[in-house]
């Protein structure tokens, strides 16, 4: 139990997926300019990563490994992720039109979000067990959601700042992210 707690904490803060693993940067820079967008994207990524992390783990250890097909994992995983996103989109559309209204636009974008395939591959690379996979996937994606929401607040404030013409938008965003990454480095001391 203690191990799982450490793992949760590490994947949520210390090894934060955006600020220290550099996965999902494209969407991080793309949708973090508005708070509502960041929240929608964050939640959609949370659902997709948690689900696809567990599903790809099951496929890898129950189908690919017994069949000696582990070399096919990149192709199989990306197909699973694409299928998961489609199924999730249909399910949300059917059962909760309200949620679909806020998440719908972001779901198709997630297929090519490297955080999703990245977490699926990391689960296998680190030889995680099923509970570990669940905890790692859930907390890594929560880390993504938390950082993208906090960052969207910062960027909304930055719009009011007098920034030189050339540094507006992405460059100043990257520099702010750099300061945030420095702050997150401080969490290393906690474990």
């Amino acid at each position: 139990m203690g191990d799982l707690l450490t793992l949760a904490f590490t994947s949520f803060l210390v090894q934060n997926i955006i600020l220290s693993q550099f996965l999902g940067i494209c969407s991080f820079l793309g949708v973090s300019n508005k708070r509502s967008k960041a929240l929608g994207m964050g939640l959609a990524v949370f659902f997709v990563i948690t689900l696809s992390g567990v599903v790809t783990w099951l496929i890898y250890y129950k189908i690919l490994e017994p069949g000696g097909l582990t070399f096919m994992r990149t192709i199989v995983f990306i197909l699973v992720v694409a299928a998961m996103v489609q199924i999730l989109e249909m399910a949300i559309k059917k059962f909760s039109p309200l949620l679909y209204g806020s998440l719908g636009v972001y779901l198709p974008l997630i297929t090519t979000n490297c955080a999703v395939l990245g977490v699926a591959l990391l689960n296998i690379q680190n030889n995680f067990t099923l509970p570990e996979t669940l905890v790692f996937s859930a907390f890594t994606s929560l880390g993504y959601t938390a950082v993208i929401i906090v960052f969207s607040y910062i960027r909304e404030q930055m719009l009011k700042a007098p920034i030189p013409e050339g540094f507006k938008g992405i460059p100043s965003g990257l520099i702010a992210a750099s300061i945030m990454a420095l702050l997150f480095k401080g969490f290393v001391g906690l474990i």
Binding site: C26, I78, G166, S178
Partner: protein, 240 residues
């Protein structure tokens, strides 16, 4: 058929990818490997060349099958093609360049979801000839390699104090700020480089505008002088 766009020559196509539409500094695409592997010049170059290799193959293949694939399912088909090529690359690197394979780590299979590759497939190879698509791929791939090597060169030089390539030391400085090879340094270096490039562009646009303004003012002055001269001549005529 839609109106045909002006075709770029191979040279223009390559320059477009290298400078005008540089994927790293201008289009801001493929950020994950850009920030993740640029701790040393060797890794940056390795990643850049890997993407160049994948891009040439996928652009060629997708351009070849562009008329067979129904447009509703084209994205899944493209992703499968890209995943196949990346898997091939993984085998080659694992067998021949084990050091690079290990240091690129998870970012190697993640080339599958690199926005540059699917982006070029969708935006260029899906409606251009094979020949043009290959040069587009070479331009974009070299542009990405240029971006990654610039970034990793700066980070390695200032972060570790020297730049190494294939066992040789290329440059040495007396300072080393380890901060730059850490995650925070990646964001900072890229932010500064993109910011500086944008500032230069803004300055240039301003200068161009200033020059145009001066030219327009000068032209207006000449016109006014001519009109005045014509009026004076008329008056002289009238006065006899």
């Amino acid at each position: 058929m839609a109106k045909k766009k002006k075709r770029l020559t191979p040279k223009q196509n390559i320059i477009k990818g290298l400078i005008k539409e540089n994927p790293t500094f201008v289009l801001i695409l493929g950020m994950c490997p850009t920030l993740g592997v640029t701790t040393s010049l060797e890794n940056g170059l390795g990643m850049g060349l890997s993407v160049l290799f994948v891009l040439i193959l996928t652009n060629t293949l997708i351009s070849l099958i562009r008329n067979i694939v129904p447009s509703e399912i084209r994205i899944p088909v493209y992703i499968v093609v890209i995943a196949l090529v990346v898997t091939m690359l993984e085998w080659i690197l694992q067998a021949k360049f084990t050091g690079l394979y290990n240091s690129l780590g998870i970012f190697l299979p993640l080339i599958v979801v690199n926005c540059i590759i699917l982006g070029r497939a969708e935006a260029y190879a899906s409606d251009n000839t094979v020949f043009d698509s290959i040069f587009d791929a070479i331009g974009m791939g070299l542009g990405f390699t240029l971006g990654l090597s610039t970034l990793s060169f700066v980070r390695e030089l200032l972060g570790t104090g020297s730049v190494q390539l294939l066992g040789f030391t290329l440059f040495e400085t007396s300072v080393a700020a380890t901060f730059l090879v850490q995650p925070a340094g990646a964001f900072l270096t890229l932010g500064l480089i993109v910011g500086i490039i944008n500032t230069i562009k803004v300055d240039r646009a301003k200068k161009k505008k200033a020059i145009m303004d001066i030219k327009i003012a000068a032209a207006l002055k000449i016109k006014a002088a001519k009109a005045a001269a014509a009026a004076a001549a008329k008056e002289e005529l009238a006065n006899g």
